[in-house]
Amino acid sequence: MRILVVEDDLSTRNTLSSILQKCGHNVSAVSSGEEAWTVIRQPDAPRLILLDWLMPGLNGLDLCKRIRSIDGDNPFYIIMLTVKDNKSDIVEGLDTGTDDYITKPFYPEELRARINAGRRIIEMQNRLLSHAKDLQNSLDHIKTLQGILPICSFCKKVRDDKNYWQQVDDYIATHTNAQVTHSICPECMEIHYPDIHRKMTGKSTEKKTDSD
C-alpha cells in the first residue's frame, strides 16, 4: 500500500516511516502541509494519508479541508495522527473530513490495523469505481440503441451520430456487443438466385402470361 506520511517532527516521522515499511508499505514522508499538498495534487498520489494535526503553516485540519475540496470519484483516505485526544477534538477532526483517528504515542499493532481498515475501504472504492465505469459504458450503449435511429427508407442504411450512413449490420456491430452473420431470406433468394430457389423449393419460377 502506498502511504503519504505528513508529520513535522523528525523523530515521529522517521518512526512512522520505519514501522510502516516494516509492515510492507511503500511510504512517502513529508514534513509540512504545504509539501503534502504538492504531492496530493499529483495524479498518482498515494490514496492513504497519515496526517499530523498541529503543524506550523498549513495544519492538518486545513489540509484535510483542501483535500476534500478536490476529492473526485476516488477520495483519499485520511487518518489524523495527533496528541489531541479529547472528544471535541475527535469530533472536530471527523467533521472536517478525516476518516479515522490515531492518538500519539501510537502503537504498531493499532497503526497496522487502522491502515488495513483504510486499505479495505480504498480497495472497495476502487472496485465500485471500476464497476460504475463498466455500468456507465453499458448504459451508453443501451442509450444509443434506445434512441431514434434514422434509417434510409430505400437502402436501409442507418445514420450515426457523426452523420455517416452505415450499413445496418455495420451499425449493429459498432454499437452493440452482438455479432452479425449473413444469410439470405427466401424472398431475396427467389429474386437474386431464382435457379437455386427453384431447386430448393421445387417451384416453377416461369412467369405466367395472360394467355395461360
Partner: protein, 118 residues
Amino acid sequence: MSLSVCDRSIFDPDDLMERMMGDQALARSIAEIFLSNIPDRINMLKESLYKKNTNGAELQAHSINGSASNMAAIKFQKVASRIEKACRVNDLTTAVSLLTELEERFMEVEKEIRQAIL
C-alpha cells in the same frame, strides 16, 4: 542495552521497544534524532515565549510533547504538555515558569536514554 538500570518514571524503554516493534537499531536511531533535535526545539519554544507569541509557542510545545511521547520520555513529556496547555489559554506566565523544569527534565531523560539504549 541495559534496560534494567533505567528509572521507568523518567524513561520507559519497554514501552519504546514495543512501539519500535522490538527493533533496537530503530530505537537507537530515533533516540539519537530525539536527543539532537530537542535542544533546538526548546530554544525555539523559549524564543516564542519571550516574544509573547503564544500560538508559535503552543506549536513548539506540541511538537516537543509529541516527540517526547514517541520516545516514552514520561516526565519530560508531561511538562511539555503543561506548557502547551498554558499557551493554548494564553497563560504566558505559567508557560515561562515551566521552562526551567522542562530543561531539567530533558537533561534527566537524556541521561536515562544514553544509559539504557545508546
